[in-house]
């Protein structure tokens, strides 16, 4: 049974909640969970290409890791940012476990598509096109164009050079444009 966590009259600071979690307080954990999981879930769902079961596993692993490392969190960034960074690493670990192929490589024997920028984009089609990208390209594109990370931040998070992030983003956008362009050509104007 999921207990009802009463909405507090004053929102408890996250640091205080985290300290209660460190003391084993379930209600404090549930408050933190409900505050941050919608954002985390959407991020990892996108990173895993829309596979809900994988996203669910990633969210659970992320909270396990975050709870275990909470005592070492130095509060130099927002809790949500820290949590999403853990989520990102969890998704990458999952991908590594499933495939030995480096996740930033374009699939072998596959020429990156060429496409012109678009003047009309349907967000539903866009979501679908992002999901269809190779994992590494999808990660960079989601972090940059959806989440608003800089190339330096992406480089730090993924352990790649900012220049690599830029080129990954370029090819990712090209692939998305190609997918959306072909969809638009195939549909009535």
């Amino acid at each position: 049974m999921t207990p009802e966590v009463a909405a507090p009259a004053v929102v408890e600071p996250e640091r205080a909640l985290a300290e209660r979690v460190l003391a084993g307080d379930e209600l404090a954990f549930r408050q933190l969970y409900r505050r941050h999981t919608p954002r985390l879930f959407q991020l990892v769902l996108r990173l895993v290409g829309g596979r809900e079961a994988d996203a669910e596993d990633a969210v659970q692993d992320t909270w396990l890791k975050a709870s275990e490392r909470l005592g070492t969190f130095r509060w130099e960034c927002a809790f949500g940012t820290w949590l999403c960074a853990i989520g990102l690493n969890v998704v990458r670990e999952q991908a590594r476990r499933r495939s030995r192929r480096p996740e930033v490589d374009w699939p072998e024997n596959h020429d990156p598509p060429q496409a012109a920028p678009l003047d009309r984009v349907d967000p539903v089609d866009l979501e679908r096109a992002v999901s269809a990208l190779p994992a590494g390209y999808r990660t960079v594109l989601v972090l940059h164009d959806v989440e608003g990370y800089t190339h330096e931040e992406i480089g730090t998070a993924l352990g790649i050079a900012p220049g690599t992030s830029k080129s990954q983003l370029f090819w990712a956008r090209q692939a998305v444009r190609a997918a959306l362009g072909s969809r638009q050509k195939g549909s009535p104007a």
Binding site: V21, Y33, E56, V59, Q60, L126
Partner: protein, 187 residues
């Protein structure tokens, strides 16, 4: 070849901005995550459902719970006596690798040992050793709580195990010292 000045068109940028940044997580994921954290010892295991109003000690409930506890241990004691009279070969076979029946017999036998040890404690007439008596009480209750937890794990809906755990929780909360001085005796 890449274009370092590649920019999104306004329409593309608008479409990216229109993508939701939050999504409703699947139902049940929160509870599963909490259960995992409890299993790993990160979160405390609640001895009554979190968020419910604590029940007061009710005499009828208390008497019932105690009577049931006594009956439980008495049956274990009797069974243990019976088993003790049987051959040592059977007793030696009882262990982690045995069948369910053998493990059940093991529970009965060790349950009777527990009751016998408690009986020996209760016959102690020396009232001067207050710390010793407190330690004995704590140890006895800890064993009772640990046993009730295992029963609850075996049969999650068992009302007797839940009642024992609730009672012990209320007792522990009432006697809890400030956090800095707390010394948990539990296993």
């Amino acid at each position: 070849m890449t274009d370092p000045h590649d920019e999104l068109t306004p329409a593309e940028r608008q479409a990216f901005q229109a993508l939701p940044l939050e999504a409703e997580p699947p139902k049940g994921l929160e509870d599963r995550t909490v259960a995992l954290l409890q299993a790993r010892g990160v979160l405390a295991v609640p001895l009554r459902p979190v968020g419910t109003v604590p029940r007061r000690w009710q005499p009828a409930w208390l008497v019932g719970a105690l009577a049931a506890s006594v009956a439980l241990f008495a049956s274990g004691f009797a069974s243990g006596q019976y088993l003790g009279a049987r051959s040592a070969t059977i007793a030696a076979a009882v262990g982690l690798g045995g069948s369910i029946a053998e493990r059940t017999q093991h529970v009965q036998r060790t349950g009777s040992d527990y009751v016998a040890a408690l009986a020996a404690l209760s016959q102690e007439r020396d009232t001067s050793d207050i710390a010793g008596r407190q330690q004995a009480t704590q140890t006895a209750l800890s064993a009772l709580g640990a046993a009730a937890q295992e029963v609850a794990r075996l049969v999650p809906d068992d009302p007797l195990a839940a009642a024992v755990l609730r009672g012990l929780t209320e007792r522990r909360r009432a006697a809890q010292p400030p956090a800095a001085q707390r010394a948990v005796v539990w296993y």
